[in-house]
Symmetry: C2
Subunit: 215 residues, 2 copies
């Protein structure tokens, strides 16, 4: 059976649509046209219609899109209609910050465990979860159904940890380690490279200053 592959460019825009639709819901707006939405979001109406039509018709000619319905459909596409259980490996500042972040819970991402190799951090409490020693990771993975592993560890440890994860059937990694993970096909990795982002900002600062100088 043929399944049309949807480009990551489209997927990358869905969370932003969802955010605007959530705002519209909060404002009590019932329906919206691609034209109105395009003005709010600063993208073309054409792109909005194309994007939505990747998933079938969510709108109605002459009417537009029902906000509530569209919101719920995009939620489903993004898999937000069911729960994801995650653990965090690396109980440093960033790991603890993510563990404490309550908004993930509201989206159905459930914080189930936290691991670190440092004895100084083991036993620490993060939102009701006690940091466990990394030696217990494998056993924990076998005993619990974990959907997502969040990696907030230095890149030097990342390779070893990833091997353990792969051996234990983990299918999805949210990677904050500053390294490209080498995983088998079928395992999903989403990278958040903060320093890359900061460098992009730095580039654009330079560019703007240069442009300003040219005027």
């Amino acid at each position: 059976m043929e399944t049309k592959e949807i480009s990551q460019a489209v997927i990358g825009r869905l969370p932003r649509y969802l955010r605007y639709l959530g705002d519209l819901k909060d404002e009590g707006v019932e329906r919206i046209s691609s034209q109105e939405l395009s003005e709010r979001m600063q993208v073309t109406a054409s792109q909005i219609r194309q994007d939505f039509n990747n998933f079938g018709g969510f709108g109605q000619q002459g009417y537009g899109y029902n906000v509530e319905y569209l919101y719920s459909e995009i939620s489903k596409i993004l898999g937000l209609d069911h729960k994801h259980h995650f653990i965090i490996i690396g109980a440093g500042n960033l790991g603890r910050a993510l563990g404490n972040y309550l908004n993930f819970e509201r989206r159905g991402f459930i914080f189930e465990g936290m691991f670190d190799k440092s004895p100084d951090l083991v036993g620490m409490d993060v939102r009701g979860i006690k940091v466990m020693p990394i030696e217990e990771l494998e056993q924990f993975l076998k005993a619990n159904q974990i959907d997502i592993v969040v990696l907030t560890i230095p890149k030097t440890s990342a390779v070893d940890i990833v091997n353990i994860l792969v051996e234990n059937g983990i299918r999805a990694i949210w990677n904050f380690a500053h390294v490209d993970l080498d995983v088998p096909d079928g395992i999903v990795v989403e990278n958040v490279h903060l320093s890359d982002s900061l460098m992009k900002l730095s580039y654009n600062i330079n560019r703007k200053m240069y442009e300003a100088g040219q005027e």
Copy 2:
């Protein structure tokens, strides 16, 4: 004078090149061809050559690229050859995590101050910096030369804060608030929307599971 605009797609790849070149330097590799680099990085050699040639010729026919030289050129393009002074607004978990992250310092990003509106957080010490009350922000901006403001605040506060920043001549914002900032032309915003990233991961988990089911 005509300056060719370089696409953000290219800029987005530069930090990754820099990372691989840094690794090569550490390994003591002196020169590398686009072909060899392409195998390591899993991109086409053609793309590598095109990317570098946006900035003029860094290589030499028959030889390849000098690792040290290329590394230093890309550093310069990204503006990493001079210092950037930054402050963090929002001393919650994420803000403190970023303040404590030492790697930014190594790249020339200097942590100069931290602000929060909550009295519980004011006075707290983050890597030698005392959290200041948000009321002192404006005065601080006038007294210090700040290049980048890192926003780790809830979206409800973001709009007000951004106004203060704009009025005080801030040119660059690294935005972790889950909202699109509305800033005048000439001000650079780099967004890190963590929940968007997590939703993308969630989508891809679903997709893989579906594909696996199809086989």
